[in-house]
Amino acid sequence: MHISDFIVVGEVDDPSLADGLFQRGYRKETPRFPHHIVAWNLRDDGARLPVSYVHFTDCHDIWLAGGAATDGEVLRAMKPEQQQALRDYGGLMLATLRYGFEHYGPNCEAIFTCCGDPRALATTPKLGFAETGIQYLLVNFLRDLSDRRKSELTAKAASFMPF
């Protein structure tokens, strides 16, 4: 089994679709500005359930990935073979972040994320994120940039922290 048998990832314009799972993690509603990436659990009865979320912010030359949240209850309620497929894949956060990289990466010079969660940190290297030297701030430079440009972009991203 592959996760595409029961998971689909896509952008939506209504952030309230993910409010439930986001509130469980952050105690507030999802950001009210674009871009919202949702991983949906495709149920056998035709219903769909948002199970993982990440927000991407367009800052022109850089994009910020933040607000990652996954509904653990939904994961635990999945069939054992589905849970195994998710483990084999590397987790839902990997799927939502990959989606963002594929769709927004070509539009920018770097994608930054702010991460202090050990479990999430296990996922970030799979996406090419590396440390910036600033606590919690990770980056994937998507183009061949000079050190000076990297410093400029990192400073810009740091100015938005926490995100």
Binding site: L17, L42, R43, G46, A47, R48
Partner: protein
């Protein structure tokens, strides 16, 4: 002017419509979803948080027009609703009228007019309730959301009519 939509009706543009309404569209139209963007889905949110795709419409940008097509509603979605929810949805004009109204607002800066093509009597009434008005051409509807002079309106209607059924 439609009443506000009930909280259990969630409307969003999605960039992965096949997983949401692919089967419904195939069942209604006998062919797969066209690949043009933009796809808008109205979901019914059940008490347990799961979302049931209920209505679908594509807003295809063909500058300076947007063609509104592929409208369909899954009657099976109503089986998930209580009688009170059915009444509330009906009082709000229904999921399709709410979806159309949502799209008219969302894409307002991307076109000079919206056109629909409708041959079903019941859908025609829903289209009118959402803000479409008939044109002089059979089955062709338009929704004006900008102040345009009559000559421009005639030109846009002629363009849409020239496209034929969509």
């Amino acid at each position: 002017m439609l009443p506000d939509k009930p909280d259990f009706l969630i409307i969003s543009e999605v960039d992965h419509p096949e997983a949401m309404v692919g089967d419904l569209f195939q069942r209604k139209f006998g062919h797969p979803l066209p690949e043009w963007k933009h796809d808008v889905v109205a979901f019914f949110r059940k008490d347990d948080g799961t979302l049931v795709p209920m209505s679908y419409t594509k807003f295809a940008v063909l500058e300076p027009l947007i063609l509104v097509g592929g409208c369909c509603t899954d009657g099976r979605a109503f089986s998930h609703m209580s009688e009170a929810q059915k009444s509330a949805l009906s009082a709000a004009g229904g999921s399709m009228a709410q979806l159309l109204s949502y799209g008219f607002k969302r894409f307002a800066d991307r076109c000079n007019a919206y056109f629909g093509y409708c041959g079903d009597a019941r859908a025609w009434e829903v289209d009118l309730s959402a803000g479409f008005v008939p044109t002089e051409h059979d089955k062709l509807l338009v929704h004006w959301h900008k102040p345009l002079n009559d000559q421009t309106k005639r030109a846009l209607v002629a363009m849409a009519h020239a496209l034929g059924p969509f």
